[in-house]
Symmetry: C2
Subunit: 518 residues, 2 copies
């Protein structure tokens, strides 16, 4: 068995994962990269058609020309979310060609990719490096995957590619609109998904890049969110994504009284400690509670006739309306969650296309995440040290990806609004099952029974003294949950590591082990 | 003395220039790069302020913090053209600090930089790698520069940085508008110059990057033509450029009857061989003749109620008007030449910001230049083998840069409209003084006394048979010029190499030698 070492948050990490040595998490900002960025091969125009026409007849032909072979790392992006059609197509072709032991490196995988479980079983795919939402995560948790999964944040994925931790052999970039040269955009076309930022690193660093589209336009495809100058082959298919599944289903404001209470409490907290003010900035996800918090913010801004400078998004109809009505100057958007988001990004220059490079890459000269005044995030579990879990459930099963969550923790104030319990299982626990975010970066936990502030944020605690907000300690919240639900049983695991959780700097902050069904 | 070798166009090239070994030109598309791109050091956000504020008090402080020291390579861009104030400021500071032997790597230099001749003399600057327009070129031609100048095309400059031939220690990016994080744009602000594409490679690959602005805006600066994520320090100065000198003075349509004739002949040629048609594309410079050709194109398009798909520019009021009136779909712009160009780029999403990477980099997976249907370029000399010179005059003095000229030669049809003689010196000669572009890429020479087509373009010659255009051989044109002006005396040179002329792939196609004043 591989030797394990204890990292800076007390988690035991194998010294080696998938045959590569591992750097254990060393603390926030402690790991010092010393090397140089990954250097792709130098190309020459002499190898590409002068007329810019890189079209090949089929995705299969493109993959063969790109040299698809055993053991390669193949990347895709998830801007189509659960409506993606291309990743399955790629591995169907690989399977037909008898290629084996591939590493799939998606920016995220979704239930629509459950189709690939058979290829994980038959050895076409060795492992998934990327988030595994739903069935693929469950399959991994049960020990089904040959290799060890590696989960990275959006920024961590950019960092891993930039730094050469992951060398992409072939990147497949499904594009709602593209030209034959490979310029591509997500903001228009029948499968419009807004933007293609998750594929940026892939385009820049992969050895071979294939753009697949169902909406070919004459050169130039404007805007070129992806530069054709990085692209080797272009392919036209009937359909790259299912439009009705591309937009997320989580863009409804919550109707639950408890969640509304949490949302209101969060917004009040931000207002009363002085975060909500003219020129402030925030990021809230697309979940029901987060949406409601955004609407509270909007209400305050409108009442006082002040403006937010920018909203970091995941955009949807609500921030778009704020932008159009002048309540915010800019939306800095990483992925659009509804068709209004797509339309706004296409039409409004102040709805800005960002990428994991600009927003989240920790191995850059700064990024946007740390400049945001307040970020509102979810969690499956939080512990009494403010550490949080976002990938596994309390039964230990891996069911979610990290997304931009770890990257966002660097905001000036990080708030996790969570219910005290879900399905009679407490959310605040002694120790999180999987540690995805260290407590030192998590400032406030808001529940329907009060909010707890990280003791290190004495500034916030001081400001709260002048308010009547229901401030509790995290221990009090935990005890209250346990009084109602009882102390939850801990999940049991075997020793087998089924997935590594990377920190934003490429170190390993925790691992997920195989659930023990005995 | 350094050994010299004969390259593929018969020019003698030293085996070593500035202490680095040289690859002689091997023919168009013949040199095969084998290495990997330059890999900048991996940065970490832990070294940059969380609030994104990278402002330092002065340019001097920024240079000191960036570690300015002897022998470094310092880059600047030329979007301010003859109105640039920053490059001189940088070397004034270097001189004050007693730093020596710097390599100045501008994207181009202008007469306003004659100020730097004293630093070339006193050893503050060892050499200029970049075009030397006017006095700096003359200074170099007279042997005044310690090191050997290296001239590259815009695409060649990107290639050299990308491939690590030139390692930029400190890039100084003067920006008409920027935020404290380093996001920067050229399309607005008191010194608006349109775009900042010439600084793109510098931002991506330089070890340290300093953004200097006279118009600081709150984060985010939108658009971010330069990404703050590449920037180390930001500085505010009183003025980055002199607005009235930023726009080029060459944007007047020619009034010379000979030049108008050349323009008309060029446009007629393009029309009669079938280049001008619905959806075609062209690139013409900002000189008077080129402008007039564009106006002939516009006239044809309007008369037939058809559209050009795109104009590659150097934009000015004429293409802008065509764009706004729907005579062309897109302007793909590399630099704006007047205030209408700046305004259009700021206001019109179909006036697109390009860069030497997208348009010209020969070591990419294709670029835009080869996709253009016809390009109209200038030349100081053309020889009977269609080779052309664009950097030296017939007296041998280096007075111009290459610009995008070499890159543009890859267009589907390259036309050089030139007068038969200038100041009674023939333009068409037996052998060009400096060979900047190989004849195989140059298709047509248009003069006021007829046009000559490269014999290799049998397709064009065939089409011309059906026209009454005055087709001549290049030899006939040369002889006619010599009959009028006499055969010109050849300039005399010493053996000393004062500048190397790079080809788009980093090989050396020719050198410029010191003029012999004996």
């Amino acid at each position: 068995m591989v030797k394990e070492v204890r990292n800076a948050v007390g988690r035991y990490i194998p010294e080696e994962i998938n045959g590569k040595s591992v750097v254990p998490f060393q603390g926030v900002g402690k790991f010092r990269p010393t090397g140089r960025k990954f250097a792709p091969r130098i190309a020459t125009c002499a190898d590409y058609p002068n007329d810019g026409n890189k079209l090949v007849a089929s995705l299969k032909e493109a993959l063969v020309k790109a040299g698809l072979k055993d053991g390669m790392t193949i990347s895709t992006h998830h801007h189509f979310r659960n409506g993606d059609l291309i990743a399955n197509m790629v591995f169907d072709i690989a399977h037909d060609l008898g290629v084996r032991d591939l590493v799939w490196f998606p920016s995220a995988s979704f239930p629509c990719h459950a189709h690939l479980i058979s290829y994980l079983k038959d050895g076409t795919i060795n492992r998934i490096e990327g988030s595994m939402n739903g069935p693929l995560g469950r399959f991994a948790s049960e020990g089904g995957m040959k290799g060890v999964g590696v989960l990275r944040s959006h920024g961590g994925r950019y960092q891993a590619v930039q730094d050469g931790e992951v060398e992409i052999d072939i990147a497949i970039i499904a594009a709602p609109t593209a030209d034959a040269f490979g310029n591509a955009t997500g903001d228009r076309g029948p499968a419009a998904c807004g933007l293609l930022g998750f594929a940026l690193a892939d385009s820049q660093y992969a050895d071979k890049v294939i753009v697949v589209t169902d909406n070919l336009v004459p050169f130039p495809c404007i805007p070129w969110q992806i530069h054709g100058n990085y692209v080797d082959y272009t392919v036209v298919v009937d359909q790259v994504g299912i439009p009705e599944k591309i937009v997320s289903g989580t863009t409804q404001i919550t109707k639950s009284p408890d969640r509304l209470l949490i949302a209101e409490l969060t917004a009040r907290f931000c207002d009363e400690v002085g975060i909500v003010k003219d020129g402030f900035s925030y990021q809230a996800g697309a979940g029901g509670t987060a949406l409601s918090i955004g609407i509270y913010f909007e209400k305050i801004l409108r009442e006082r006739d002040i403006k937010a400078r920018f909203i970091r998004a995941g955009s949807n109809q609500y921030p778009v309306q704020m932008l159009e009505e002048g309540v915010v100057d800019y939306i800095l958007d990483g992925q659009t969650f509804d068709l209004e988001g797509v339309r706004s990004m296409r039409e409004n220059n102040n709805h800005v296309n960002t990428s994991p490079f600009t927003s989240y890459n920790y191995h850059g000269k700064g990024n946007f995440a740390s400049m945001v005044d307040v970020v509102i995030l979810g969690a499956t579990e939080v512990d009494v040290n403010f550490n949080a879990n976002v990938v596994t459930h309390s039964d230990g099963v891996l069911l979610h990806g990290i997304g931009g969550w770890q990257n966002c923790l660097f905001a000036k104030c990080t708030i996790l609004p969570v219910p005290l319990f879900r399905d009679r299982v407490p959310v605040i626990v002694d120790e999180v099952t999987t540690l995805c975010g260290p407590g030192e970066l998590i400032d406030v936990i808001v529940t329907e029974r009060g909010l707890a502030v990280n003791p290190s944020r004495t500034d916030l605690l001081e400001k709260l003294k002048e308010t009547d907000l229901p401030v509790r300690t995290i221990e009090e919240l935990k005890e209250e949950a346990e009084q109602i639900c009882g102390k939850p049983a801990k999940p049991t695991f075997t020793d087998d590591v089924i997935a590594a959780i990377k920190w934003v700097d490429g170190t390993v902050i925790d691992v997920v082990r195989k659930v023990d069904r005995r």
